[in-house]
């Protein structure tokens, strides 16, 4: 299998990006094909590479990029089952997003720069997936970060986009600095930055202090995959256009962290402590984000918190030593979460608002965007993890892995001794995974019911017919112009087609895990069949979650239809270009389920305020101190020496009185002084 193909996969979108940037301003018409074709071709190439590689094979090839005086940095490729699986996912999602964006941002003047950045992002993601050298991986890693910064800041007219982009880049950069130190430690101990050398060194036990390395790498992963301590940037990143959220903040970039840990799992298996830390991190992320998702009013923020939660799942699987389950869940989650975001995009596009309570008061929303409605339903079912769809299988794989780790025989599939994974990690992951399954079912159901099926929307056709969208009062339900009513306009084909393409893997991909010669053969060969106990408990918890949400929703709608206004909650809605809506929550089961937790959950448990108090304010104080230090202390030294010279000059001039006798007396005094000095 010649090396041209894998080398071409990351190169093509990069060249496409350059071409789009170059030609974008002069002939916007050309920008669309230049955006879609390279990404699509590279997706196909990724598939070809995957097929050529076949199952259970590892390909390593490298050429020196540069000497450094120490360990060399090389352009290396490390292809195995994981890389081909994820590269195909990335190719698929990226192509869908590019196609989807042509319609979504049809009338946006800055489309060429947007498309170029998405292509550059895809190239960077391919580089991370294929790269065999840690430093080159870091290059792809940070280029992804800067592309997400620019894309989040696409609508730089709005204040939210401006602050969200800055916050996203700084939080990920905060994670990347320890990540770099982790790479240094690995490079120094293994003598080279090549991943195969690092893995061999881990195998021979030549790594000096694995726990420190693992923790440093975890910091980077937490930053990039929005895990507990550094997750605050992802919900705000929803200020970017929805296709960006779909591509970057659902399927690819956030998955890079998990992919890296999967790649370097032997290093992590060397230290039990790191695995426990990973498990605790995953648990807190899962539960916290699920609770927050239950309380959000913005459709995209619900999905963002859901992504954070699902990434917690994958991290939990890794904490229990089974990277197969984690990647299996990663791929299936990538598919259905991308689908959810794109469908959400359609709904937001049609409803001109992000807030689900405002959507709930739009009559007949279901009718207007049927495709989005059905695909969203499928995706939500996959998210909840009910049997037929892929979500069920991948979630069960994670639960089985946790269960095995809990009773001591972790499914490390030959990467390390089963005993390497402490049972505590297994128990933490198992319990939190169960609880999150229930909460996930709850918020998914809440989302679906409130958005599409709230009675107020259906029961108030009469209140419709309000004038055009421009001047409608903040809390009046928005009613569409006549032409937007029929589905053909609300859902242009370019938006509809990708939904169904992504729906296929959402439904079918789960089965691929059943047969041992399909997916497991591609990966490490461990079985991915869910064990009976976890299957039953998992699904049971999911069903209970749905029922709870349904019950709470029924009660809430019953109360509203009798005229009892639900307690008004003027929530701040970071809306997109849609109408500002400080809306009244009509019938929200979340409030009933969460009770007292509803307020804090809505604002992400105050983590943002904590961080600004912990980090931002001390840095600003330090900056003011430095400015004072620079102006007062260093300056006084310099100015002082200048003034010293001036003072001496003034004294010398004063001595120059012009009187000859003063000169003579000074002269003789000097002579006497010298004579005494010498003679004595």
């Amino acid at each position: 299998m010649n090396l041209a193909l894998p080398a071409l996969v990351p190169a093509l979108p990069a060249l496409g990006a350059a071409a789009t940037l170059a030609v974008g301003r002069r002939s916007p018409g050309l920008a669309r094909p230049l955006a879609i074709v390279p990404v699509a071709v590279s997706a196909v190439l990724a598939l070809v590479v995957a097929i050529q590689l076949g199952t259970g094979q590892v390909l390593d090839a490298a050429t020196r990029l540069t000497p450094t005086g120490g360990p060399e940095i090389s352009l290396a490729i490390h292809l195995d089952g994981y890389s081909s699986l994820i590269s195909v996912l990335v190719g698929l999602v990226a192509t869908c997003v590019q196609v989807y964006s042509t319609a979504y941002l049809k009338d946006d003047p800055r489309y060429p720069s947007y498309a170029a950045l998405v292509s550059l992002f895809t190239a960077a993601m391919f580089l991370v997936v294929y790269s065999g050298d840690l430093i080159v991986l870091l290059v792809g890693w940070e280029v992804m970060g800067i592309c997400s910064y620019f894309l989040i800041g696409h609508h730089w007219e709005t204040e939210d986009a401006r602050s969200a982009s800055l916050k996203a880049f700084l939080v990920t950069k905060l994670g990347d600095v320890p990540f770099l130190f982790g790479i240094f430690l690995l490079g120094a101990d293994a003598g080279s930055f090549r991943i195969e050398d690092v893995l061999r060194a881990a195998g021979d036990g030549r790594l000096g202090h694995p726990t420190l390395i693992a923790l440093l790498l975890l910091a980077g992963v937490a930053g990039k995959s929005a895990q507990f301590p550094l997750h605050t940037w992802l919900p705000d990143a929803m200020a970017g256009p929805t296709p960006v959220s779909a591509l970057i903040h659902a399927a690819t970039m956030v998955a890079a962290g998990i992919y890296l840990v999967a790649r370097l799992l032997p290093v992590f298996l060397l230290s039990g402590a790191a695995l426990v830390v990973l498990a605790v991190m995953a648990a807190v992320t899962m539960i916290g984000s699920a609770l927050c998702a239950l309380a959000q009013d913005d459709l995209k923020r619900v999905l963002a918190y859901s992504t954070v939660g699902q990434l917690g799942y994958m991290a939990g699987a890794l904490a229990s030593g089974d990277r197969e389950a984690s990647v299996f869940h990663l791929v299936s989650h990538g598919a259905f979460k991308a689908l959810l975001f794109l469908a959400a995009g359609v709904v937001i596009h049609a409803a001109h608002t992000n807030s689900i309570s405002a959507m709930s008061r739009i009559p007949g929303l279901r009718k207007r965007v049927p495709d989005a409605y059905w695909t969203m339903a499928i995706a939500l079912i996959a998210l909840i993890g009910l049997p037929p769809f892929s979500g069920f299988f991948s979630k069960e794989a994670v639960l089985t892995a946790a269960e095995h780790a809990a009773n001591g025989e972790a499914l490390t599939n030959g990467l390390g001794p089963a005993s390497a994974v402490p049972q505590a990690a297994g128990w933490i992951v198992l319990i939190s995974a169960g609880l999150t399954a229930l909460l996930t079912a709850a918020y998914a159901a809440r989302l679906f019911l409130v958005t599409f099926h709230s009675p107020a929307g259906a029961a108030l056709p009469a209140a419709g017919g309000a004038p055009a969208v421009a001047d409608h009062e903040p809390d009046a339900p928005y009613s569409p112009e006549p032409d937007e009513a029929d589905p053909a306009v609300a859902e242009p084909p370019a938006m509809r087609w990708p939904l169904w393409v992504l729906a296929v893997p959402t439904m079918g991909f789960g089965i691929a895990g059943l047969r041992s010669d399909w997916l497991p053969a591609l990966l490490d060969g461990g079985s991915l069949k869910p064990s009976a106990v976890t299957a039953v408990t998992g699904t049971g918890l999911a069903v209970v979650g749905v029922l709870l949400a349904y019950g709470a929703w029924r009660a809430a709608t019953a109360r509203t239809t009798e005229g009892l206004p639900a307690p008004a909650e003027p929530g701040r809605v970071p809306e997109q270009a849609g109408a500002p809506a400080a809306e009244v929550i009509v019938a929200d089961p979340g409030r009933a389920l969460l009770g007292p937790l509803f307020g804090p959950a809505r604002h992400g448990f105050g983590v943002d305020r904590l961080y600004s108090a912990l980090f931002v304010r001390p840095v600003e104080a330090a900056a003011r101190l430095v400015r004072f230090l620079d102006r007062e202390v260093v300056e006084t030294y310099v100015r002082g020496s200048g003034a010293g010279a001036e003072l001496l000059g003034r004294v010398v001039r004063l001595a120059q009185t012009g009187n000859a006798q003063t000169y003579l007396s000074a002269l003789l005094a000097g002579v006497v002084l010298l004579a005494v000095l010498v003679a004595v």
Binding site: R639, G642, N659, Q661
Partner: protein
């Protein structure tokens, strides 16, 4: 005669000369006290020459030269004093201070030398 007498006398003469130079207001008297100092030195030289019993009599030779130099200097000195008197109308040494450094102007004329530094502080700090 022991060496001490002429040397002490010379020292006394020299200090009287120094006092005269520093204290007198009239320039001519200052000139006279300078002459005193020179003669004190001559006395010294001659005394040492005798005390050393120098065959080459270098001391006395130098005294001769010093006397001629003193004469020349006084000639010139008086000419200068005469010139000063004719130009300034006074021989008072304290009045001849026209050439001193002009007083510090209150505002610095050219751009304020703020920020300029000789960095003496910097070098020693």
């Amino acid at each position: 005669m022991h060496l001490a007498y002429p040397v002490v006398l010379a020292a006394l003469l020299f200090s009287v000369g120094v006092y005269g130079v520093l204290a007198r207001r009239n320039v001519i008297l200052v000139l006279m006290s300078v002459e005193l100092m020179l003669n004190a030195v001559n006395l010294n030289l001659v005394a040492f020459d005798a005390w050393l019993r120098d065959s080459l009599h270098a001391g006395q030779a130098l005294t001769l030269f010093t006397i001629t130099i003193a004469a020349a200097e006084i000639g010139l000195g008086l000419a200068i004093v005469l010139l000063l008197f004719r130009a300034r109308g006074t021989a008072d040494i304290d009045r001849a201070i026209a050439l001193g450094d002009p007083a510090e102007s209150t505002a610095d004329v050219d751009e304020a030398p703020v920020g300029t530094e000789a960095l003496k502080g910097r070098a020693t700090a």
